[in-house]
Amino acid sequence: MINLSLIIPQVFLFGWAGLILIIDFFKKGESRKGLGYFALLGLAITAVLTVAADYGNGFFGTYVSDDYGKLFNIIFILSAMLTILASVDFAEIRLKHKGEYYGLLLFAVVGMMFLSGANELITLYVSLELATIPLYVLAAFLKKDLKSTEAGLKYVIIGGASSAILLFGISLLYGLSGTTFLADIQSWNLTAAKLNLGLALSLVLFIAGFGFKLAAAPFHMWAPDVYEGAPTPVTAFLSVASKAAGLVAFVRIFFSPLLIAQTDWVLILEIVAVLAMVIGNFVALLQSNIKRMLAYSSIAQVGYVLVALCAGNGYSIIGMMIFLMAYVFANIGAFMIAIGYSNMTGSDEISDYAGMIRRNPLATVMMTIFMLSLVGIPPTAGFLGKYWLFAAAVKGHLYWLVVVAVLMSVVSLFYYINVVRIMVFQRREDESKLYYGPALGLGVTISGVMVILICVLPATFFEWASRAVKAFFPEL
């Protein structure tokens, strides 16, 4: 069965992205602000289509549309929308080929949206490539900037290598089970009671391959350079959407066909989680550049998610979903403050944020909210996210892992609150006002409100997350 109705949102967005490229071609003048808002409109329509899309299997079982995939699609679309709000002013100042910029961003989202429904390994691989290849280009989008070029090159090489590792893992799993369909692998795996070497190797390769995509330590070394060099809105998008894309596929594989082998992969995953949290947090302590700080901290944030995933229960997925919803708003929100500041002053140094409370009080308040959310202090969404992540691990009796995770959260307080400290406590000579403009202002305000709202009215968001879990744990 082909069942085209399942992929209407993706097809629509693909068409819209193409349309952007065509309009860009015919448009005169330098400004492309309108095109940015046009892309925003397309994403908004796609979001509606996603919510309305049919459920079920399609394309002979290679693609599935369920609440899990849909929720992730919404997360991808939201992060793309916020990224575009963050890009509109940035693109005018820094970028040359603005039409292509918006187009590529939408193409990446299309890839991610296919990835979220991929129910077969080859489809999964192809979608993953469709999602990342536009991102390679976007990372190198500041052509004249050496750091950006370096970022693009590094990203493409490491990304290619990690794809190859993943593909090797896929081929081993295919060789063992004789199928690439996740559902069939699941039934094969049930019969292969004991662990064999081939499976072990493929598990390692899967974790390594996804580890690169997620930028989880020890597979993180590309991330700080790429995050620093890439245009900042792209960094924001990379740190949220591309991580979510890695997670959507990882969970799809590890929580349905490979869940039975949990005892075999949990140890590797625990090591990766601890390394990600420890390295991410401690290196972030030393950063003076806001982009690098957020890059390293995002390595740590993935570590918290992996803590929950180690537990392998329904709460792992609930925790991951709520955490990601919180993370989209808090992290891109923080990036938006940084982007706006850099648009106006050209600086990404945290120490330059001194006196921000006088220059733009609202931005300071918002940044405080985002930072507290990233630490996980109530009443912010980040608290709720971490609460459920840790709940999953406690439920799975992974107490030592939770202790490490909470201690690392305390460490993270130090560098996140440092940004606020400089903004609020320190003074500077030039305390002229800063104006963030309508697009960034809107994006920051929406993010700030959502960060609070998710914690104050958690029931709705929890409901979505628990519907998503049904794809894996129908009884929960």
Partner: protein, 509 residues
């Protein structure tokens, strides 16, 4: 279950009224300092009035006989709503607010000290708008902690307080304010994350986060589970108290914080630790409590002696008062570890009276610092000649602090000693050593009074002005309470008695 519901949700109003105040203050112009001050005063005055209403309501419902029933552990509470409001239905999290004999006095104390502190803060000149906004947010968190009966809610309020505290110390504090602020924040967050693990462990054992329900089910927790989870909670609460050796954030925070914030820190925040132990750890984990009494008593004893000895060595007046808090909170720990009615009541008496006395002492330290710009004890001398009224008030609270009979400090320390002498859980030698703490306390307080207010007048301070009306207004209610409780302890005991009886019976089984 029979329960008493307030005529209208007073606790909710008390807790969230200051939040409206924040919005009001944010709408005011930065320059209209006077308006901001009085708005803040108004929005902390209303909760004070409401908390007095709560006290009255609680007292009047005690006569109905509905409040106390030993077999029903939720007895003794007045609730905002008959049935807790559904907040997060999928996981049994409710908006559940209620107060009993433990929390009613603390809510009143919070209301009073917040109101007083707002007036103390009238001397803040810099960034007034932000200051009062943070202060009111702090007030929301404090009321919330004492009223919340759902763990999720409790944790949120517990953590909300950290943020305004961080800013209040960090922006308006003394020279080492940034260090003190981050140290406070890191220390308390470190403690609370262990509480979070404990909360999650409880949730997955029982499927509920209702604190009263968790107390009711305390029989199903295994011994090992109790020991571990008790320890997790204890770290969180002990850092807040602070129990030796978790006390090192306290002197820094107290010394660097602006006067009003020191008052709140000493008066309310420290009490949250002991309140948490009595509200959460003791009733939920009775077996672990009995097993841990000796370590708790010894930590309390070390706190008493260590705090007193370190206070003796202080040259800075504010530091002296700060370390004396470590010593005084040690009495609380000793009293509660006894698990006798008198001991636990003594602990609660000490919580209340230390809040009042030390709050007042910090205000007085602030008064002299604002005039002299130094807090060095040795720099003063013979102030009694120049500032008789100030000296009188200071000596009054000094005497209360060292436990002079007739003052609330005496009542509480006496009860702690009597209670812990009766206990079967630890030896009498602990109490005997602890009594020496009183001598040490008398030593450092009297020496400080002697060096500051008696002896030769230091002519350098010829220009000092006497304590003004606003300042007298801020300490007067505290002085009245100190003497009232000291002379007639029943005013406080009437609230505590039945709740404490219930608690002790619950632990001893």
């Amino acid at each position: 279950m029979e329960s008493i519901t307030l005529n209208f949700p007073v606790l909710t109003y008390i807790t969230f009224f200051p939040l409206i105040g924040i919005i009001a203050i944010l709408l005011l112009k930065k320059e209209s300092v006077g308006a901001i001050r009085w708005t803040a005063a108004f929005f902390s005055f209303v909760p004070l009035v409401l908390s007095i209403y709560l006290v009255w309501f609680y007292l009047s419902s005690m006569g109905t006989g509905l409040l106390f029933d030993i077999n029903n552990q939720t007895a003794g509470f007045v609730f905002d709503f008959e049935n807790p409001l559904v907040w997060f239905p999928q996981v049994n999290i409710f908006y559940h607010m209620g107060a009993d004999g433990l929390s009613v006095p603390m809510i009143f104390l919070t209301g009073l000290l917040s109101f007083v502190s707002i007036f103390v803060s009238f001397s803040i000149k810099d960034r007034v708008k932000e200051y009062f906004a943070w202060f009111l947010l702090l007030e929301v968190g404090m009321f919330g902690v004492f009223s919340a009966l759902d763990f999720f809610l409790f944790y949120i309020f517990w953590e909300i307080m950290l943020v305004p505290m961080y800013f209040l110390i960090g922006v308006w504090g003394g020279p080492r304010r940034e260090y003190a602020a981050i140290k406070f924040f890191l220390y308390t967050l470190f403690g609370s994350v262990f509480m979070l693990i404990g909360i999650l462990a409880l949730y997955f054992t029982t499927g509920t986060l209702d604190m009263l329900e968790l107390i009711r089910q305390n029989a199903i927790y295994s011994h090992l589970f109790q020991m571990w989870v008790f320890a997790g909670f204890f770290i969180a609460f002990a850092i807040k108290v602070p129990v030796w050796p978790f006390h090192t954030w306290l002197p820094d925070a107290h010394v660097e914080a602006p006067t009003a914030v020191s008052v709140i820190l000493a008066g309310i925040l420290l009490k949250m630790g002991t309140y948490g132990i009595l509200r959460v750890s003791f009733p939920m984990f009775p077996e672990a409590t009995k097993a841990y009494t000796v370590p708790i008593a010894i930590l309390g004893l070390i706190g008493i002696i260590y705090g007193a000895l370190v206070s003796m060595a202080q040259k800075d007046l504010k530091k002296l008062v700060a370390y004396s808090s470590v010593s005084h909170m040690g009495y609380c720990m000793l009293g509660m570890a006894a698990i006798t009615t008198v001991g636990v009541s003594g602990c609660l008496f000490q919580m209340f009276s230390h809040g009042v006395i030390t709050g007042a002492l910090f205000i007085l330290v602030g008064v002299i610092y604002e005039r002299a710009h130094t807090r060095e004890i040795a720099a003063f001398g013979g102030l009694g000649v120049k500032l008789p009224v100030f000296t009188g008030i200071f000596v009054l609270f000094g005497m209360a602090s060292l436990g002079l009979p007739g003052m609330s400090g005496f009542v509480s320390e006496f009860m702690v000693f009597v209670g812990s002498y009766q206990t079967v859980f630890f030896g009498k030698w602990i109490v005997i050593i602890a009594v020496l703490g009183v001598v040490l306390t008398a030593g450092y307080i009297l020496r400080m009074i002697q060096r500051m207010f008696l002896g030769q007048f230091n002519t350098k301070w010829e220009g000092l002005t006497e304590i003004n009306g606003r300042e007298i207004f801020t300490v007067a209610p505290l002085a009245i309470l100190t003497v009232l409780i000291g002379v007639y302890p029943k005013v406080l005991n009437v609230f505590l008695k039945d709740t404490v009886d219930n608690l002790v019976k619950l632990i001893l089984g």
